[in-house]
């Protein structure tokens, strides 16, 4: 498999290492919150990315490759037209699940705006909740 060796980290999950890693995690950043229901409770684009998108597109947004691949969102020309990521987040694309039922218009706008201004993306125009409402089917 063509996995980036930099990300390869052997996680031997013993009780001791578990405590150490938790400590390290607490020091390194915010703990992503956990939602109480079917819908996501996170509101900022950063939190939504870290709790949802990161599952497949990875913490650096560069995706990953196995028998199939999760595309990189870094320096991504597909994000140039803002309607495209809005459509994909709301309605899904191929095997990517639709998140429209799990996120409000504001949440979708927040995560799309976050994506389009991070990971070597620097698109200046932002998406609004109104834009999101339009693509809901």
């Amino acid at each position: 498999m063509q996995l980036n060796a930099n990300f390869r980290r052997c996680v031997a999950v013993s009780a001791l290492l578990l405590l150490l890693s938790l400590k390290a995690f607490a020091q390194n950043g915010r703990e992503p919150g956990l939602s109480a229901g079917f819908r996501f409770a996170e509101n900022s684009g950063e939190d939504l990315f870290a709790s949802v998108c990161q599952g497949c597109h990875m913490s650096d947004g560069r995706g990953a490759s196995g028998a199939g691949a999760y595309p990189s969102l870094a320096a991504d020309r597909n994000l140039e037209a803002s309607g495209y990521p809005v459509e994909v987040v709301v309605n899904g694309r191929r095997a990517m699940p639709p998140f429209g039922a799990m996120m409000s218009d504001d949440q979708v706008a927040a995560v799309v705006n976050y994506l389009r201004t991070h990971f070597d993306n620097a698109y200046q125009d932002s998406v609004t909740a109104e834009d999101v409402k339009l693509v809901r089917r």
Partner: protein
């Protein structure tokens, strides 16, 4: 003595099978089907028994992509029918999502995190399928034919827990208390309504008497049709002080939980986990781990499998199929595998990314199915505190915490020493994505943290764990295909077609998604139709 004569003289014992063929001959198959279902045959499973592929395939070759249960079912049956079969598999093992993790097993998820399972020898967790309904007759039949021993899987343990953070001050409740008290108080309400004449229009006068008896029997009501703390309800829900022997041994009934409290707690929601057709008792699991099924198939067809072969392209023309793959053991020049026909069981999460020579309708179907998020976490503890301290032997506790379920081992009961339980089973919903987004060690830590709410013994007894997030599994990229009514209507028939020389199989080509039965039934259907075509041409 002729059969006719015998029947004229006296009613002879007629076997059910004889009766059915008689009905079939006289009244046609619809009547026979009706008779079969009312006699308790046939309605429960789409499996028609061992497949018979009659006719000579004349040396036709089939390339099967994916050595999960669908692929290996097809390989087993087609090679027996005389086909020349070869298989390509991405993993270095057979089985696909039919998978068991034991001590020493290592795996790397997308993103690069590796885990090595540290369970004690003999302990395991099934990160994929873990239970088999009694009506999944195809899976059960292959287990029988391939020598896979089964044991009961406990879906309903009356003494396991139902838990919500939103009621009972967060204290877990026993399933038997919620179930019995809910049922008892509903029976009491119905009895009252019946006595007050409020059901007179719905129930005949004659049936009212029977209904009252039934409610009393079903709901553990007393002579006044009341459900309350007494030895009648205690016979169902258990006791505050259980009956014993000798002095002071008399039982003391417990106090029922108020219906209003049960209603507000929403714990009644979990009762359907014991009622749904797919979860009805008895359920089964293979002795020693679910992968005993995959391993049994691999004993039959393993010699046909080329492992660590990553498919990158699927081409066909009117003469045959050509599949391009990378040999992951020695990456270099792409390799080609050729055959007359192809059965592709690659999950749509992966297949939708590959260049595949199929028609527009098939391609649209391949692209139409999202893949669900699911996370399972296995935890090893020093001792079976759930058995020793709480008398929970197997079964499942349900909670509204993110871990959702705690599945206790359905084997090795009452033994001393370590044991592994399923510490979390998330399926869809926000938490499944949130757990997928965490590093494996944090998923395990969270499972221990949340599980301690139901079982305070967790922190002291926990030793190690493994966490499988299905979207991160390089060979699956998701748990299973999610069909909606709309996508079924638009695409399902298309995805089942034989497109030129290619046909798909797998749980995603079934009405039983995410179940092994769906994978096997789809494979059997695909090879039946493919064989018909091959024998005809």
């Amino acid at each position: 003595m002729g059969q006719q004569g015998q029947m004229q003289s006296e009613p002879a014992p007629v076997s059910r099978r004889d009766l059915l063929s008689l009905i079939g001959a006289v009244s046609g198959s619809a009547a026979m089907y009706h008779a079969m279902t009312s006699l308790g045959f046939a309605s429960d499973s789409a499996y028609k028994g061992p497949i018979r592929l009659e006719g000579d395939p004349k040396g036709a070759s089939v390339l099967i992509l994916g050595a999960g249960l669908a692929g290996m079912t097809a390989a087993l049956e087609l090679s027996r029918a005389g086909y020349n079969v070869q298989m390509l598999e991405f993993n270095s093992r057979a089985g696909g999502r039919n998978w068991t993790l034991r001590g020493g097993d290592s795996f790397t998820e997308l993103g690069g995190d590796s885990q090595t399972c540290q369970f004690e020898p003999g302990l395991y967790i099934n990160p994929g399928p873990w239970r088999i309904p009694y009506h999944h007759r195809a899976v059960l039949d292959y287990c029988k034919r391939l020598g896979v021993a089964l044991e009961p899987f406990i879906q309903l343990n009356h003494n396991a827990l139902l838990h919500t953070t939103r009621a009972f001050d967060g204290a877990p409740q026993r399933i038997r208390d919620i179930k019995t008290d809910f049922q008892g108080q509903i029976a009491e309400l119905l009895a009252k309504a019946t006595q007050q004449g409020q059901l007179d229009e719905a129930v005949s006068k004659e049936d009212r008497e029977i209904l009252m008896q039934a409610l009393r029997s079903w709901g553990a009501l007393d002579g006044d049709y009341a459900y309350k703390a007494n030895l009648i309800s205690a016979d169902f829900r258990g006791y505050a002080r259980a009956p014993g022997g000798g002095l002071d041994a008399g039982p003391i009934p417990g106090e029922p939980i108020d219906l209003a409290d049960i209603l507000k707690s929403q714990l009644w929601r979990y009762l359907q986990n014991f009622a749904l057709h797919n979860f009805q008792s008895p359920m089964f699991q293979p002795v020693g781990g679910m992968d005993m099924i995959g391993k049994a198939f691999a004993r039959q067809v393993g010699n046909l499998i080329r492992y660590e072969a990553k498919v990158t392209r699927i081409q066909q023309d009117d003469r045959g199929v050509s599949v391009t793959y990378t040999d992951l053991r020695a990456p270099g020049e792409p390799q080609q595998a050729k055959a007359d026909w192809c059965i592709c069981t690659i999950p749509l999460s992966i297949l939708s990314q590959l260049p595949v020579d199929v028609g527009a309708r098939m391609k649209a179907a391949i692209d139409a199915v999202p893949y669900s998020a699911s996370v399972k976490i296995g935890l090893q503890f020093r001792r079976r505190f759930w058995e020793e301290d709480e008398a929970i032997y197997g079964g499942i506790s349900y909670t509204d915490l993110p871990i959702r379920q705690i599945g206790y081992p359905n084997t090795g009961y009452n033994s001393a020493g370590r044991a592994v339980l399923l510490g979390a089973y998330l399926y869809e919903g926000a938490n499944a994505y949130e757990f997928t987004s965490m590093p494996p060690a944090e998923r395990v830590a969270k499972a221990v943290e949340f599980g301690a709410t139901l079982h305070p013994q967790y922190p002291a007894e926990f030793e190690n764990g493994v966490a499988v997030a299905w979207h991160r599994m390089p060979f699956a990229l998701g748990c299973a295909g999610i069909w909606s009514d709309a996508t079924r209507a638009e695409h399902y028939r298309d995805i089942c077609q034989i497109d030129g020389r290619i046909v798909l199989a797998g749980e995603h080509v079934s009405y039983i998604p995410a179940w092994q039965e769906g994978a096997i039934l789809s494979a059997l259907d695909a090879i039946t139709r493919l064989h018909e075509r091959v024998v005809k041409t």
